[in-house]
Assembly symmetry: D2
C-alpha cells in the first residue's frame, strides 16, 4: 500500500470567486487518481491544508509522526514548494523512518487551474519513484528526483536543482 | 539523456472539426514536457503516427532498430494501448537491447481532450520509471509498471493487469 | 422561461475510452449553465441524442411538436451542425410557431473536449440572442445569428455563412 | 465593426508561478475569439490592465473618450466586476454616446483558470447582445443583460441582479 499524506501547498489551491483569491477547499488527490485510472493500492490522508511558508516545526513533527505511525513503507507527501526542502531535511533526521521511501512532491501551478498545471505529471512521477527508489527521503519535481541532502528550490526560476553539481 | 520515441496511439490523437473524427496531426510531447517544467535531458523523435491496431511487424522492427541505434540507455516509447504488449514482447526478444531500460506508455484518453486524459500522468510516471528501473522492457500504465512478460490489456475495463497474480 | 431542447450533435459528444470513439452519454447543458453562473429561468429537456446526419423528418416533426407544445416563446435547440440548416427550415415552415423565437446552436468541437471547444461560447451567444431577437427561426454560430432562409454551412471550413451576401 | 476595449479585471488575470499570485500579463481576447471561430468583424484594443477596484475616474474618463473616438456604434468593454456598475453609470452620463450600444462584461473566474471559468460564455453573450440591443449602456453577466440604471453586484453571491424587481 502507498500512503499519500496531503499538506496543502500550491498543488491543492483553488480560486474563490467571492474573494478573488487562491485558497484551500479540499485536496484534489482522489479526483486525480481516478482520472489517472490508477490501479495502485493507495490510501489518501489529509493532514493539513496550508501554505508551506506557514508550516511550523510542530506541524513538521506531526507529519513525521504520521510517517512513523503508518504501516506502509512507501509514503508520498504533497507539499508547498517553498519549504519542501526544509520538511525533507526534517524527516531525514528522524529515527524509525530509515526503512521507508518518502517522496515529497507538489506543483508550481495549482491542479485546479487546468491546462497549465504541472501537478498531474508530478503525482504520476512521485507514484512511480516511490515504488522503485530505495528507502530514503526524496523530492520529486520537474520530472526528476532529488536526495533530501542535495536539493534546493531556485526562487528565480521556480525550478528545483541540485545544490552541488554531479561530478 | 532519455530518448522518447513516439509512434502515435490514442495518446496523440486530436479532434478534427471538419471530419468530426479523432486523427493524428502531430505529437504533443514537446508541449507536455514544457508544461511539466521538465528539467531532464530529453530527446523526442517521432517515428510514426499510427493507431497501434495498424502496426505491422515491419514497423516493430523499425522501432527496434531505433532503440538499438540510439546511444541512450533509457528509452520511452509512446504507443497505442491495443498492441502495446505485442511491441513490448517484440523488443524483449532482441539482442543488443539487453542493457537498455525501455518503457512503453500511452493513454486511454487523448491528451488533447483535456481534463479527462490520463496521458500527462502516464508520461510523468514513465519518465520516473525509466530513470530508476534496471535494464529490461516494461509497460507503464495506470500508475504501475509491468514486466513485458507478465502484462495484458483487459479489453473490458481498458486497464492493464498482470497475466498471473503475484504469489 | 427559456426552454432548451437538446438533440445531440457534436456539441454533446464524449470520448469513450473502451471503444476509442466519440459518442453520446448525456447532455452537458446543466453543467454548462452552472459553470456560467446562469441567472436565467431555463428549462432543459433532452429530446434525443443523435448525430444530425442521422436525423429523420419524423424526428424533425417531433422537435416541431415540442416547440409548439411548450408554453415558452423563447426556445433554444442544440443540434449537430451538419443538418442544422435543414431543421431550421423545417421549423420555419410550421404554423403555430410564428410567435416564437427559436435559436438553433451547436458546436464544431465537443464541449467535453475542453479548451478547444466553441460550445460554451455558442450557448452564451444563443441564450443572449433568444432573449432579444424578434420571433423567427435563427441559427447562432461563430458569434453571429443567421435567419433560417439565408444560411448555409461551408463544409470546407466548417463555418456558417450567408447564402447571399448583404448588399 | 464591433470594437472591444479591454481594461483587465478578473477576466484577464493569470497565475504567476514565481509569486504564486494572480496578475495581468496580456488579454486573452484574441485567443478566445479564435477558439470561438468568431466570424464577426471585431477590433480588440487594450486600454489598461487593472483590477477594477483600482480604477480611477481619470481612467473612466479615458474609457469614455475611447468610446466616443471610435467610429463603431457597437462597443464591448471587458471590466472587473467589482466596479463594473460604476463605469456603466459613468458612461451613461456622457454626451455623444447616446447613439451607441455599449456592453460591459467580465468574469467571476479568470479565463486562464480553464474549466471553471465563466468568461468564454460571457464574451459569447456580450457579442450577441451588442449586435441586437438598441443604443444604451448595459452589463452582460450570468447570461442576462442589465440596463446601467437597474443593476448591482451582490457581493455575497458574486452574482449581478436588478436593483428593483420587475413588476
Amino acid at each position: 500500500m502507498i500512503h499519500i499524506l496531503t499538506t496543502g501547498g500550491t498543488f491543492d489551491k483553488e480560486y474563490n470567486y467571492i474573494s478573488g483569491e487562491l485558497l484551500f477547499i479540499d485536496t484534489h488527490l482522489p479526483e486525480m487518481l481516478k482520472r489517472a485510472r490508477c490501479g495502485l493500492d493507495v490510501r489518501i490522508e489529509k493532514l493539513m491544508m496550508i501554505d508551506s511558508l506557514d508550516m511550523t516545526n510542530e506541524q513538521r513533527e506531526f507529519i513525521a509522526e504520521q510517517c512513523k505511525r503508518t504501516t506502509s513503507h512507501k509514503i508520498i507527501i504533497t507539499h508547498g514548494t517553498d519549504t519542501m526542502v526544509d520538511t525533507a531535511k526534517y524527516l531525514a533526521g528522524q529515527e524509525l523512518l530509515e526503512s521507508k521511501t518518502i517522496v515529497l512532491t507538489g506543483a508550481m501551478i495549482p491542479y485546479s487551474l487546468g491546462a497549465s498545471s504541472d501537478g498531474f505529471f508530478n503525482i504520476g512521477a512521485a507514484l512511480a519513484f516511490v515504488q522503485v527508489l530505495p528507502a530514503g527521503v526524496y523530492i520529486a519535481m520537474n520530472g526528476r528526483y532529488y536526495n533530501w541532502d542535495n536539493v534546493q528550490k531556485n526562487y528565480n526560476t521556480g525550478f528545483f536543482e541540485n545544490v552541488r553539481s554531479k561530478i
